[in-house]
Structures are given as structure tokens and as C-alpha cells.
Amino acid sequence: MGVLRQKYREISRIEGIGDNVKNNRVIFLAIFIMLLTLGPVAFAHHGNANYDTSKSITVKGVVTGFEFINPHVLIHWDAKDDSGTAQKWQGELTSPNRLTRVGWTKSSIKPSDTISISGYPAKSGSNEIWIQKVVLGSGEELPMGGGN
């Protein structure tokens, strides 16, 4: 248990949730501009009933799984909440077809990558995000959209 806690502390340092307000503001501004001008990155096949599109959250952590599958690409990752407890998160993107057309591949994200994911939270309060932005640990931001 102690080993796990230590591991999560390390993850927490990488995550740095909320400790860089200026950077968060820049991210928020960038997301705001994208939403203002282009609207949300569309789902391929279903609507947004499950998500609160009036809010945007950013959750940083370590990737545990990446599924480049139809109809929606999925990312799974571990992150810590405010109390330091480890939480499992999952998020969905648009279709692999649309992401392929802006440069993604099935290897764009790998398990153990550090990652920062922003998007709309689930209305149910579960740890799910409709992903609008992905920034890898290297600082590279993956392109969104996909053709329309």
C-alpha cells in the first residue's frame, strides 16, 4: 500500500494539477477560442446527452490504455483527485477515421505516457470526459477535428 501511495505521489508531481494557474489560463483561453469559433469537436455517431458541455475540465495523469477503435477512440488513464486518491479516468474522442485524417495513428498514445486531457465532464459525475484537447508529456498537442 505504501509503495502504491509513493507511486501516486510521483504521478501527482508529474500531473501538477492546479499548480500552474497561468498555464491553465492559457489552456482555457485556447479551448475557449476553439469553442467560440468552431463549436465542439463533433461526435461521429451519437449526441452529447451524457456530457455537460457548459463546463470544461482538465485532468492530467498516466495513460493505462489507448483504444483506436470505431466508432469512438478511447483513452484510459490514472490521475489523483484533490485528496490524493488514485482515480481511473476514461475519455472518448471522435472516430478513428476522422482522427486518422488529421494525423493520428493507433500508436499516437501509448500506455505509461503522461498526458493532459481537457474536455466536457460526464453529467453523472463519473470519471468520464468527452475529449476536446490532448497534450502529451512532451508538450505536443495532438490535432483535433477531422475533416468537416
Binding site: A42, H46, N148
Partner: protein, 256 residues
């Protein structure tokens, strides 16, 4: 990738003053969404290629789920069926568990012209006898017969209908009947009956721009013909990819 994103963001920022300076556009019939660079002239009687919907900012507000900013005029039967339907896309959104969208819940073919609202490209292939429309969404195919035949008088009802086409000047006019009544007209839950009649006018404005004027008529569901214009952009570097509807079922369990 970063450069592309930068251009994407810049284009988005540039669109703000442009869209706010032209409020009249939202009230007028949307014009063709032409690419920024000049395009070569359209080849004659040739629509071959991969096409992707390219909406103007005004169109983008509704083309994710329907055809026009204003709702169509429906018959009482049409209004009742529309109210009862539970779409997933659009303003009346329902979760995947709750929706009764026949495309999402049963993987039925989307029908004509709803297939254009599925947000994926389609390819036009021309051979002497017919024009093939090969839609990425669930590899849906339409045959537009160009050999002068008429619709069969007793056409078997189908999802995509029976289509015949002819050239009127530089416009391909496609007439489609013979539908079943199992699908919706759009992703917002507007119904249709087996009396649906769809007319599509394909006009290639230049090499890169295709305009489709669509008229939907259905005496049982629509009080007046429902007309729209959709714009598409040529994607010379794209191929049609696989997209199997049968994968959708897994997502009912994903969202909690």
C-alpha cells in the same frame, strides 16, 4: 502536427471578426462554401472523387443533425411521430441507452438523404450504366441508374430507395422513390413514410466544390416539400475507410 494545429487555431481566430461582421449571412440562403484558393473549372459531366461536407458557419449550426435552420412544415401525423421520436443527435439529445434512433439502435441503413448527415465522406464512381455513390458510413452504396430506365411500378421498398438519374446541362438530377418507412429523414427524428420522394440536383461549381440541392416530398409526413442545399469539398488525398455500425453497440456500456 503542431503546425497544422497552429493553422487551425489561426483560422478559427480569423473567423471571429469575419462571422460577426456578416450577420446577414445567417438569414439568407447559405451560399456555397468555396475554398480560399481558386479552383480549376469543373470537368464536364464528371463528379468522380471523394467528397466531404463543407458547411458555412451558418450551416454548421444544424448540419450535424438536420437540413435547415427552421424546422420543416409537417402534417399532423409527421408532427406526432417527430415528437415521439427520441434522437441522440441535435437539441433533443438522448443517451445511447435512451435513444430510439433506428440507425444507432438497430444499425439500419440511414436512408436517403440522411446518409449525407452521417459525418463521413462519400465517393462518386461513374461507369457507363450507372453512377455509384459509396458512402463511408457503414459502406453504404447507392446505384443511380443512368441508362434511361424508369422506376419500377412495383419497386420493393428499400432503405436507400430506387434512383434514376439524368444530366440537365451541367447538373445531375437524381430522382429516388421506393422507400420503406423504417428510417428517419435526419438525425433529429423527422419521420417519413413509404411515400417519400427525394430529388437531388448535383452541381459541381468548380473542380473542388459540389453543391447538392435536395427536395424531400412526402404527403404523409410533410405538409410542404422540405428543401435544402448541402455543400461538399473534393478531397483528392482521401480514401474511403471502413466504418462498421455494428461496433456502436459497445458504446452503450461505455457511457455511464
Amino acid at each position: 502536427m503542431r503546425n497544422r494545429l497552429g493553422m487551425f487555431l489561426l483560422a478559427g481566430i480569423a473567423a471571429v471578426p469575419l462571422s460577426s461582421a456578416l450577420p446577414a449571412q445567417t438569414t439568407q440562403r447559405p451560399g456555397p462554401a468555396k475554398p480560399a484558393t481558386a479552383s480549376a473549372p469543373a470537368p464536364e459531366h464528371d463528379l468522380s472523387g471523394v467528397w466531404n461536407m463543407h458547411s458555412t458557419p451558418a450551416q454548421r449550426k444544424y448540419t450535424g443533425n438536420t437540413y435547415t435552420a427552421e424546422p420543416p412544415e409537417m402534417t399532423p401525423w409527421g408532427s406526432q411521430a417527430y415528437t415521439a421520436n427520441k434522437p441522440s443527435n441535435g437539441p433533443r439529445t438522448h443517451s445511447l441507452k435512451e435513444t430510439d434512433d433506428p440507425v444507432l439502435k438497430q444499425c439500419l441503413p440511414p436512408g436517403t438523404p440522411r446518409i449525407y448527415l452521417q459525418p463521413f465522406p462519400f465517393q462518386i464512381v461513374q461507369i457507363p450504366k450507372e453512377i455509384l455513390m459509396f458512402y463511408e458510413y457503414d459502406h453504404t452504396v447507392r446505384q443511380i441508374f443512368m441508362d434511361g430506365r424508369a422506376h419500377p411500378s412495383d419497386a420493393t421498398p428499400t432503405y436507400m430507395g430506387h434512383s434514376i438519374g439524368k444530366w440537365e446541362g451541367d447538373t445531375l438530377v437524381v430522382d429516388t422513390v421506393g422507400f420503406n418507412d423504417k428510417t428517419w429523414l435526419d438525425r433529429d427524428g423527422h419521420p417519413h413514410s413509404d411515400q417519400l420522394h427525394v430529388t437531388e440536383r448535383f452541381h459541381r461549381l468548380d473542380r473542388d466544390t459540389l453543391q447538392i440541392d435536395i427536395t424531400m416530398e412526402d404527403p404523409k409526413a410533410l405538409a410542404k416539400p422540405w428543401k435544402t442545399q448541402l455543400n461538399f469539398q473534393l478531397k483528392p488525398d482521401w480514401d474511403i475507410m471502413e466504418l462498421a455500425c455494428t461496433d456502436n453497440g459497445a458504446f452503450e456500456d461505455f457511457e455511464k
